[in-house]
Symmetry: C2
Subunit: 348 residues, 2 copies
DNA sequence: GTGAAAGCGCTAACAT
DNA sequence: ATGTTAGCGCTTTCAC
């Protein structure tokens, strides 16, 4: 009844295996790295010793020697926002397909947190960074990151001309959504925007307004805000209290839209009979009958795959041309948006 | 107009700093590690060189020397389930407070994935593991992990008697929820359970049935399932089609409850007038007016803090006694549960 | 107070 | 086909 077959303490090393198998360290190393130039005999012996000793190569030592850690890192704004886990999962899979591990870091959109994470990640020797955090920290980035650690932006268009990025066409997405709303006859509409430092948020708002301008009598309202449900709630509440609320509102993301829905229900009104609601991101719950929320779906799989590919290319060949990728979006029309029904300013 | 003040290529090392500052490597190392025994003069020089060269100590080399990586890893079942990001964030903060970085891994509840991650993590030299993935992989764990990499289970009661864990009292939580439902007069009730391999799911079901048994004429139904909304939907659909659906159903988590709600709405019935619904986890959306879902709230902050503390203790002193911690739960009664209203088998 | 030197576990020449 | 050796960047004795 052996408790542990291995004496506790030090983990077995190449040298241990070599000794056990009666060969040299290099031979073991060759076997481990699946190098040719090893006789079947030796290989057999080594393999057995490895199994018996439960040897596992140390990534740390490898990283120290090779300067490569086979690890990528992903920075997200808010892991609590359902969109990011979805993206993270896709990126993790993509990275894994290419033999890389992925570290996920939560920046909470704070440059301080970004800095903390970046310091750590660089010291840890990650081979590349995927940045999906939404804004405010570009200065920190340029300060800390140099060409030895390539970086790709996902779902965020960076200011720098030199940067690599994979994004969705937010402006077009917003226009599609606006068109959808306009087609239902809405004219007094509301857009609950995100913060100005976020390129995404700005693009969505711009697209929205652009499309609204194509219709003579459209009167779009815009409310500044953040990415949280509370912002959506607050903005909607104010509009409701104004006495002349929009007949359709769009949140800068589904979180915000949910907040707005909440406020509408709290005021005793109905969706979409009184007010239509829509958002961006198409979070999982959006398609459920409970939310049944019209939204813009991003192709996270494509975003993930493309960004990882770009990053790997940047890691291999340094100093490559800036790479860009614009991924498709898809309008998911659902029950939260419908025609204007009240005596209002548009055809029924 | 200097493009980069540092020549590209190799990152600066201790030796570079030493040369630049005109001192020895050891002195630089002492300064970096805030060791005493350094003259103010030397320290000054070194500090300046460090700044100028933008030197950053290599965690990799440190880890190789010290055998410690100052990194913990968290394994979760499904980062897409809103409960886990919440937990992950709390654990990340707790780890960070103690000077540790956190790696987050998604096992998708697959032993294969668990193995992949564990192999990597151990090779990467993580100092400890926090396991919040829900089941099926305990064999993999005992096979791969030895006492050099301590492990703490969170939100999951392990089979092993020796293991450390921090969990919530699921049985009690389920009883509270059952009592709440019974108090509303419900007698024909449904529990949409999770998989049998998940201790959490089993405990919740047991608690539920235990409390139901305290009432003579209660007739609890149980439906096997998974942790996803689709399972909740499917189970509810079948009950609805049976013609005698329960007047109150509880999902093994909020995801499942949402699925059930979806099915109820799809059948044209109302919540809670026709059927009451509740869940576990108290995901963020549960408190919104849209879901307004009665649920059990776990103290994720406590779970996180306690588990990290336990893990660190295990890392420092090896071979410590098994540590256990049962964290509090709180019933959040909301609008999705209400009294029986139909001509049914209970007092109104 | 400071420096020299021996490793940590591995890879990658370079021998043989 | 296999062994020897010199590092990777750091910590840590141990001298001075």
């Amino acid at each position: 009844m052996p408790r542990r077959r291995k004496r506790a303490g030090r983990a077995p090393t190449l040298a241990d295996v070599a000794q056990h198998a009666g060969v040299s360290i290099s031979t073991v190393s060759r076997v481990v790295r699946r190098h040719a130039d090893v006789s079947d005999d030796s290989r057999q012996m080594v393999l057995e010793s490895i199994k018996e000793l439960r040897y596992r190569p140390s990534t740390i030592a490898r990283a120290l020697v090779s300067g490569k850690s086979n690890t990528l890192a992903l920075l997200v704004s808010d892991i609590g926002n359902p969109f990011y886990p979805q993206l993270a999962r896709a990126i993790e899979r993509a990275a894994s397909r290419h033999g890389y591990a992925l570290l996920i870091c939560n920046t909470e959109d704070s440059p301080t947190e970004s800095r903390r994470h970046l310091e750590r990640l660089i010291a840890h020797g990650v081979d590349g960074l995927i940045h999906a955090s939404v804004g405010k920290d570009e200065d920190v980035l340029t300060e800390l990151v140099d060409e030895r650690t390539p970086i790709v932006f996902v779902n965020r268009r960076p200011k720098s001309e030199q940067a690599h990025y994979a994004v969705a066409d937010n402006r077009d997405a917003a226009r599609q959504l606006a068109r959808h709303i306009l087609n239902f006859g809405h004219r007094r509409t509301g857009f609950i925007a995100g913060p100005n430092y976020a390129a995404n948020a700005v693009e969505r708002r711009e697209g929205w307004l652009l499309e609204m301008e194509t219709v003579e009598d459209a009167r779009p309202l815009v409310s500044e805000g953040g990415f949280d449900a509370v912002h959506g709630h607050e903005a909607m509440r104010l509009w409701l209290e104004s006495g002349q609320p929009p007949t359709a509102v769009v949140g800068v993301n589904d979180n915000v839209a949910v907040g707005a829905m909440d406020a509408i229900l709290a005021a005793g009104m109905n969706i979409p009979e009184d007010i239509s609601v829509a958002g961006f991101d198409d979070i999982e719950l959006a398609s459920s009958r409970i939310l049944d929320l019209t939204s813009i779906a991003y192709d996270t799989e494509a975003l993930a795959e493309r960004s990882v590919q770009m990053l790997l290319r940047a890691i291999r060949g340094s100093g490559v041309e800036p790479m860009r990728e614009i991924c498709a979006v898809q309008l998911k029309a659902r029950g939260s948006t419908g025609p204007v029904s009240r005596a209002d300013d548009a055809p029924a």
